[in-house]
Subunit: 70 residues, 6 copies
């Protein structure tokens, strides 16, 4: 499968916190940064996600804001 | 200003392509990856964005999907 | 690749309209409905999308609103 | 009320799972597919949603990714 | 039709700028603030939107970030 | 920090409801309207948000739908 999403950042799952409906998945990128994702608990179970798994964080370009420092 | 968005990735603007309403801004992250953002042309002008500017790419955690490799 | 996105609807590309930055892709679902997607022109070219291609429309569950009829 | 959202898929609520803040609503589309939506518990109660209700799943076109099969 | 979206802000269209695929619609809220929306040109035409129209800006709560001033 | 997001609405936090992963923050805008935001509990704690705080609700223009009344 190939995706239209322009942002596909490779990394490893560092932590998973599960609520009732949603779960928070923290991914340590190969470049060193951390990305936090909120997906459904069903998706965590459906994909069998666990700490240490190699994954990609996928982000549609229309979802990215730009901030300037000044 | 501090933001609730969990993902704030530092980098430098590599290119800007302007359409009529929207513009595509490519940011080279300090970690080496590229992030593509689609914002309005008005925002590009309002912030005075140009190639070489230091910026942050801001992404709300609910916008991040997870993909597994297999 | 497997995705956390819960909504993955199979169909065929019915039309593509390209602007400068964004493109509108209309997908006819196998179930008969139409789905409209706005992605970047770069993604259309990068994936080599054309009318008649079999694709899936992918939607994160946090992006789906519910409307009642009354 | 008429909406700018291009994707409005008719169906029936198949299940509702409530957390503290968010709820997961599964809609069986008339075309046979399932759509998963995550909205607030407050919205579920405010609209009085229950299994069997006829609803529409509403999706803004900028939220739809395209995936190719190869 | 009633919507799960928690944020429905009433106002009047102040301007419309059309590109090829997307259009920018500026809504002056009854409370005095301005809201900018990017939707498809097809939606602008399909709804017959024009300056002066009374509309509502609809925003899903998962799309709202919080910023603190300090 | 300045942001590309076109919609930045000033107000005061009226209530916070925390789940396990996500929290619902209600902001009373200076213009009188209410805005509901769903962010992570971690963000609520990281920013030290509490009822009465002056904040801004930030919304990317691509996330705003338009509804007509008829």
């Amino acid at each position: 499968m190939r995706l239209s999403a322009r942002n596909q950042l490779a990394g490893m799952i560092q932590s998973i916190k599960e609520g009732v409906v949603t779960a928070e998945v923290v991914v340590k990128l190969n470049g060193g940064e951390e990305i936090v994702s909120v997906i459904t608990v069903e998706s965590v179970h459906g994909l069998g996600l666990k700490v240490g798994d190699k994954v990609r964080a996928i982000i549609k370009s229309t979802e990215v804001l730009i901030a300037t420092e000044e």
